[in-house]
Amino acid sequence: MSTRTTSRLSKWVLGSPLIVFALIFVVYPVYQGIQTGFYSLSLQNPDTLFTGLENFGTVLTDPGFLAAAKFTLLFALAVTAIETVLGFGLALLVNREFPGKKVFFTMLLVPIMVAPALLGVMFRLLLNGDIGLVPEVLRGVGLDVSLFAPNTVVPLLVLLDVLQWTPFAFLIMYAGLQSFPSDVLEAAQVDGAGRLRTLRSIVVPMMKPIIFAALFLRLIDAIRTFDVVYVLTAGGPGTKTTTMSIYIYKTAFESGQFGLAAAASTIVMVVLIPFVPLFVKRIATPGAAE
């Protein structure tokens, strides 16, 4: 029984760093941010007035917001699905000893090491129709395509996101595979279970929390997609590639409407939060593992 008391105390001792940090660096800014949504804070008006739900109404009736929400959702789902599948496949492929593993492993991580803000600029050069490598190579093989044409720009952005972030999903799932007891896998193979069956009946079920963690992290980050898209298209042509973050960025920094931007952010959070527990349940159930 003494373990119970210890654990009751240690629960708080171990949790205390998070509590302290959260009180100062999370609660205050989140409160401040959400509160801004209820005020008419803008650069154009010197007076900051309480406007209640007005900002929320304005945002929700703005066709631009709804278009951005739709594009963001479709884009995020597409890239998350592709990256999780490719990342998992890659993790399985790399999860064995082979010559050159260390070098290639590091190389696989390089795309996430380039700052997204810089990567956007790099893509702009790489894909430039006049001085970029990709169009020149494509022309060399007889393909005269314009990558940024309105009908190819969305697939292009998806492809670039996949190139950039599959390594992230890969790293998480690979680390998961590494923590996974290899003897189970070996035992299964000794039993004569086929590769595919081992995968389906042993690896995937055991990896579920990790797979969900990778998928979930990619999804919430993809919903906030900003840098590369902003640098390449600034949300255009028209509003075709405007993500939620671009919409909010422009609302705050180009329109100077900080109240509206805060309201839009809050709406995004409130709409998506009900889905969070569905994922969290699969990633981390408190208490004993099953």
């Binding site: 240690s10 629960k11 708080w12 001792v13 509590i19 940090f21 660096f25 999370v26 989140v30 941010g33 890659l90 790399v94 064995r96 050159g100 593993k101 260390k102 590091t106 190389m107 991580l109 390089v110 795309p111 090491m113 380039v114 700052a115 810089l118 600029v121 790099m122 893509f123 050069l125 790489l126 001085i131 970029g132 490598l133 020149e136 190579v137 190139l163 599959t166 992230f168 998480i172 680390a175 923590s179 290899s182 963690a213 979930f216 992290l217 906030r224 973050s245 909010i248 920094f253 805060a262 809050t266 995004v268 998506l272 969070v276 969290v280 981390a284 408190p286 208490g287 004993a288 593992a289």
Partner: protein, 272 residues
Amino acid sequence: MTKRRLWGTTVAVGLIAILVNVPWFNTLFVSFKSDGDISRGATAAGTPTTDHYANALGAAGYDFPRFFLNSAMIALGAVLLVLLIAIPSTYSAIRLGFGGRFVMNASSGLRLLPAIFFAVPYFLLMSNLRMLDTVPGLILANTFLNLPLAIILLSAGFRDVPIEVEEAAKVDGANTYRILYSVLMPILAPSLVAVAVLVFIFSWNDYLFALVLSSSNATPITLGAANFVTSTGIRWGDISATAVLSTLPPVIFAVFAQRYLVSGLSAGAVKG
């Protein structure tokens, strides 16, 4: 036959590694081309030049050594602080019932908010704390940005460890703290290292918070590189050299971390 299959893996992984790095290799190539050669087209190669590297190291008149140092301190500081907070509290949440699922739900929910949402609040907060334009201020901001990631990943990790491992340690008389640090942390080493690598990378690459919170003393390299995006165009060569250089520290960090990630030795040893 086994051998041939392994070489097959090498080829397959190698091709993928090259494919995902086409942008980076192009950047490397461009960083050695003169401005004139860049304008001649992608495959034009004249005499290689190191001018862009000189510029990226300070010849352009910006204090790049300082920017690199700031980035390093910010990223390392954020890694340490994130682990210091996330490891005990996530364990507490998963195994001891601290905060229940709320901790995970809340931190995931936070990560859903666009970073811009926090621009003004964080500016005010750091202003009140007198931490604007300081490295500690940016360490705290990046800790805030990356805690959700660490908590989510570590949750999955802690949950994966069979409870029997802990029970065995308890029978041996270990208390909770002892179990966490000398039993669970070694088992989870690959996940901890993965978290450290990711937090390092994300803190190293942070842009928006650096933009809002720094002005000259704490400017990191990402923001310093933006000096090459000018009102008369982008200095492709200079920004490419900066991008190449700025990728090196995370790569070095990852190479050091790789021992834990690639071999899986530490994990295997404990589990066996």
